[in-house]
Symmetry: C2
Subunit: 410 residues, 2 copies
Amino acid sequence: MAVNAGRLLARLEELSRIGDTGDGGCARLALSDEDRAGRDLVVTWMRDLGLDVQIDGIGNVIALREGREPGAPVMCGSHIDTVATGGRYDGNLGVLAGLEVIETLVSAGVTPRRAMAVAFFTDEEGARFAPDMLGSLVYAGGMAVEEAYDIVGIDGARLGDELARVGYLGSLPCPGLVPHAYVELHIEQGPVLEAHGEVIGAVTGVQGISWQELRLGGQFNHAGTTPMAFRHDAGLAAASVAVAARRLATELGGDQVATVGKLDLRPDLVNVVAGLATLTVDLRNTDGDLLARAERRMAAEVDRIASEEGVSVERRQLARFDPVTFDERIVHLVETTAREHGHSVRRLPSGAGHDAQMLARMCPAGMVFVPSVGGISHNPAELTTPEHIEAGANVLLDVLVHLAEDDVVA
Amino acid sequence: MAVNAGRLLARLEELSRIGDTGDGGCARLALSDEDRAGRDLVVTWMRDLGLDVQIDGIGNVIALREGREPGAPVMCGSHIDTVATGGRYDGNLGVLAGLEVIETLVSAGVTPRRAMAVAFFTDEEGARFAPDMLGSLVYAGGMAVEEAYDIVGIDGARLGDELARVGYLGSLPCPGLVPHAYVELHIEQGPVLEAHGEVIGAVTGVQGISWQELRLGGQFNHAGTTPMAFRHDAGLAAASVAVAARRLATELGGDQVATVGKLDLRPDLVNVVAGLATLTVDLRNTDGDLLARAERRMAAEVDRIASEEGVSVERRQLARFDPVTFDERIVHLVETTAREHGHSVRRLPSGAGHDAQMLARMCPAGMVFVPSVGGISHNPAELTTPEHIEAGANVLLDVLVHLAEDDVVA
């Protein structure tokens, strides 16, 4: 039994035409008119397959196919909203491959023991309404639906109003039904699989994230008339923090990453020593203790730099998520299934957040990664080759059937 | 013989009311309505003193008082235009102190051997029309007046049109008459005199300036999914350049300064490795050879950093002025005159540009600095104490009389 790759690719193509940015990309911000059109199309496909399509109070759509026995379904899925300059694979692949898996079973007349479900979750990207992974967070009980309704988007719209406007304010309660297991196929969005020439990633977990904003207050001064020894240069201090963050990640090693991606100086003029610098430090690690150690070392570096330059420091925590570890039985199942298909496979953590990490709060969960060409994502140039899409969908098929038929996580 | 400090302070106060920003500062951008009103007031004072007021083709105003003998005048002056958030002393002090010196001589019935002149030069700040020191540059023959007329300001206005509009398109040719000598009293705009508890600065010259813009092209990437070894982080490279600039200035020592005051990342997001960084490097030194050495070392550092991070570099020279050395006889005269007045005095270079450096192309030139409280300038909080203003004006008086009476630079 194998998926129909042509059909899957055709659906990816058709869905990508909604919100087409004209350069290969997609713009379907959550609960926009484009998102509604995309939802309507996928729901049509779900209904055409005879699935029981249900919508919950936060607009998550779950399409169910009964099993031979009653009980919780084996669920797959992802999201179909995109960032403003999104690609056509991020999220969409997991949803449409899930649909393809079920259609493959339907076409083959195979009904596994357990029910199966494919879902798409509302507002995974968080590009219009923060935080990201919102729909799956509410699904898993991490946020009350009433609280979510009152979130105001970047365009001033209220989430609850937009949900009703696009016709996806459903009646299914949140938190939702607890799946038997959850597996999500997703593009890697990073360069690791491609760099190692590997086809399948068995995702071990999602990195913990620490985002901090630093405001460094120095003294703005004339760049010509102020001798070096008299300076309290907020820009130099900010630059030193960025260099220290790189050094820290290099010294800690493992999968520790550290990024200063945002850095703004005031007054930001060629001939004025900056009096104010605002920057962010993004630290991630799959190990909670190591992440905490990185945060402590970074804090000490910032204190040292600020003291040496004579600048003040204000800190604000922008985000803090503990690492998520996926169910080892599912990681192992992905790994062995990929090998059975003759694919090279690598265990790796996810650096990005995914709906699967929210589902992991409720049930055994895991993910299958396929390579991203050039590691590029959130970009119209995002690409995963047809061969890798087919490989990933077939691994997903067998993993889901194993979970639905056997007692892998029972 | 001594100046009337009360009269000088009252004129500084009265002039500061034109373009009053309400917080102690002044906004009289060059050739604006406020600049016209300021010019009209100062010209009225010049005419009230019986001076021969002449206006040249770029709007520089030169007020002459005859000497006992014919010949080139001893000139003083500065500018009365300000930046948008200017103080009341920058430039204005040099013009009004020059006027006060002449009024002191008139009141005392003293006519030195040589003629004397006090001038204010158009658009010293360059805040509306670039480059700065424009009026004195044209006066000294460094730019043709026709070229200057075609300069378009930040508000889209043409300089020649604005000059006519405010009524200061004069008939005196440029380059202008060559003075016997030129001496400018100015606030230091830096912290050195105050820090050393000194009253008078005998300015040895003006630092050479090298401004370079660097555009560093890396690869924008997900801050979570991109391992450190895969990064081409334009932001990290920019930060490394800023840190290297500080190290370079510290290692070279002397009066070498280095500043990265402007630094912009793209896309400037917390979770994206920057793909593009634009920054400026401002290097200054009073010694032309040392400045060139600093530029070479900085270029090598940038090459090394770009190579290590795998980012591309585009360079653009924004400005390059060779250092100016003032006439040693005038520097010495300022120094000895200050000591005769019982003031502590320090030789120091100017980190900022001044009209005197343009006049130095034509004649022996020098400057007298008085302390800036906190080193603050180009800011409504700009302040020089009444005692230091009086001290500076009296030193200027004696220096000018020496130059006009004796053969110090003959």
